[in-house]
Symmetry: none
Subunit: 417 residues, 2 copies
């Protein structure tokens, strides 16, 4: 156990652009954030580009970058992290997909979520698993359900290639498309074969689901059938060095996003579930803050992400985003009051901006502040985009964060003599 | 066609160092630039290093970097871009050279530009092309004239290597040197063979030119003969992904530098010629600005370069550089007045600095400002080196520019989920 501890507290999508309703201030600049401001005032500030200036990142790629794993080298799609999050023991080289249970009639997608099916998906998954138990064309099939309509599919075998299209058409009222090689891999035998295996999986799964007693019951009850499993978000599972081996730190994640939980499991980090952490606007930020303080005793490094600000951004809902930022601030206040700051460094940031005016992730830079042991404070006095841009840290990248933290905590080995 | 458009307006070589005649201000800091200042004041500013801090770039490598193509990966010399600009269908792997028609007597270079020959170079090029029609040692020879004494040479075949010396000695009164492998490739059979092919080309071209009726006429008129073609600036033509494929943007160039036009053709971008855009101090900047506004309707992305400031820098002519900067400012003012800024983002910069005190390109950082849709303005209020260095953007690189622009326009695909 390290003597000093490092914490990353992220308000998901918290960064912003000027909001007209806030007189051109960003959400962070407009909301009162006494705890975040204290961290900025007593710490050092700068701007964060998770990958490089202007690049629009997802939550998965941003967290990879922030944990020091280069997404350009390792990321081909969300599938491996989804599958890991669901509990599949994903292996390097596996082809992994997010899947939805869906309702299909005459090969047309009627409901992409099978009426948001809640019960019986374990039995449906079993039916698929049994129907594909012998593999498909020599490829092993692993299929596990997650919550509601969600599931994950892993294909394991030689000669697979992730450069194939989604089967989930992302829209309703359209035909289920065949999985096909992407244009750049149109002649690649592995991509062609991978697409064929996916298509055979979809066909076999459809037959198995149609015959399932779960759907018999749904039919009788007038519910939408869960008679298709539609793969998307394919990626080849990379080999990622476990976090503890890469950094010599005993790390934990307290996050509300399944995709990021999957990444944490992938990196063999502890993934701490917090009762009350809903991932929604109603999340219990104080329970999350208490969980950080508890984990502080057991771990050298904790990354926490509070999802709510991102939701306000996606919905272009100013009030929701402001209130979510207030939640992040209250969690930060609890940490300020309850951690031993002679032995702790924290950084406050976001994984990306989700501007109110955009309603989606943007590639804008994100304010970041480091506070605690080892930090050389600058004269920035509040946490926000324009204030932090004046900070002494300058512009940093996601990959710099752990190096800065382990520099402050003194847990980084010297490179050189 | 994208809903929002992106424009890059470059004042070639516009960046500067302190100028003693301007009381230590740079040219940009000293000249009144109300339009550029408005862009800085209402936009976000920073400093640009086209490749990385301190690297002295050419116009070709700077534009490559600014368009997001790594010159270290793809650039071996100007030849391929010159040849493309002249109209040769350069292929990946071709060895390409800039050539001058020159006057040579007893193997000594008397005039590197053959008295700035203006007429008959097409016939001279034909003579060379006929004399080399059978190729040289199995290598295909393509030779085309450009304006005045300029021409381009392409050698196409197996086993060619660009690591060879120039034949053009860059000075007059000296012997025409033999083409030789560079020291690091002295033992490389391909470099040795490439040099031999070049020497044979120079010998054959000399014979063909001596015998040309064009030179017979020049001799009769007492003009300097154009009896040699001297290759230089060799490069191996790289494969560069077309701009539209790399970015999904329909792009156009409005530039006054042939080398950059060649790069644009190489990237399969539209290259728009503007009557009145002379590439000189007398260029019609308002015609250029009108051309940008016309192109705005048809293209998603426009890069414009006004050459004049660079000329003032090269000549260490303070007044000329100040007046050229005023031209860039007038063009910017026209754009501010005539474009739809709810659907446009612009960045103002230079491809490099050409300081008055240096008279050549330097590796100093360049002020850059982004203005328009999506931009989070900072508190910089004028465009210039020292003001922009205080901007919120920090220091960026050429490769970041298109990522920032497509972030603002919303035309960049998200990387991740």
């Amino acid at each position: 156990m390290a003597e000093n501890k490092a914490i990353i507290l992220l308000g998901d999508g918290m960064g912003d652009r000027p909001v007209p309703e806030l007189e051109g201030k960003t959400s962070l600049e407009a909301q009162e954030t006494p705890a975040l401001d204290q961290i900025a005032a007593e710490g050092v500030c700068g701007m964060l580009n998770p990958i490089s200036p202007g690049i629009r990142v997802g939550s998965d790629t941003a967290h990879m970058a922030i944990l020091g794993y280069d997404p350009f080298a390792f990321y081909t799609g969300r599938g491996p992290f989804e599958a890991k999050g669901v509990g599949i023991d994903v292996q390097p080289g596996d082809l992994a997909f997010r899947c939805n249970f869906a309702t299909v009639e005459n090969n047309v997608v009627v409901d992409r979520r099978a009426g948001r099916i809640k019960e019986g998906t374990d039995k449906l998954a079993d039916a698929i698993q049994q129907a594909t138990a012998g593999g498909i064309d020599g490829v092993e099939v692993i299929f596990l359900p997650s919550v509601e309509h969600r599931a994950a599919l892993v294909l394991r075998g030689e000669g697979l290639d992730h450069r194939v299209t989604d089967v989930d058409p992302h829209h309703e009222g359209v035909e289920v498309p065949l999985c096909e090689p992407l244009p750049e891999a149109a002649d690649d035998p592995n991509a062609i074969r991978s697409a064929q295996v996916v298509n055979e999986f979809v066909r076999t799964a459809h037959e198995a689901l149609e015959a399932s007693p779960v759907n018999e019951k749904r039919r009788a009850e007038g519910l939408l059938l869960a008679n298709a499993a539609l793969p998307r978000g394919v990626g080849t599972a990379p080999h990622l060095e476990p976090f503890s081996e890469k950094y010599g730190l005993n790390g934990a994640l307290i996050v509300e996003v399944d995709l990021v939980k999957g990444l944490g499991k992938y990196l063999e980090m502890a993934v701490i579930d917090v009762p009350g952490a809903t991932g929604g606007a109603d999340t219990d930020e104080m329970a999350i803050a208490r969980a950080i303080c508890e984990a502080w005793a057991d771990y050298d490094f904790i990354l926490c992400n509070i999802k709510a600000p991102d939701l306000g951004g996606h919905d272009s809902d100013v009030e929701a985003k402001l209130e979510a930022i207030a939640k992040v601030d209250r969690a930060a206040a609890y940490l300020l009051d309850n951690l031993d700051w002679d032995h702790t460094v924290i950084t406050i940031a976001a994984d990306h901006c989700t501007p109110i005016t955009v309603g989606d992730h943007s590639g804008d830079s994100i304010p970041i502040a480091f506070y605690g042991i080892g930090v050389r404070p600058d004269d920035v006095s509040s946490y926000g985009e324009r204030p932090c841009a004046k900070g002494d840290l300058g512009c940093i990248r996601g990959a710099d964060i752990i190096n800065l933290l382990t520099n402050y905590t003194g847990t980084q080995e010297k490179f050189g003599a």
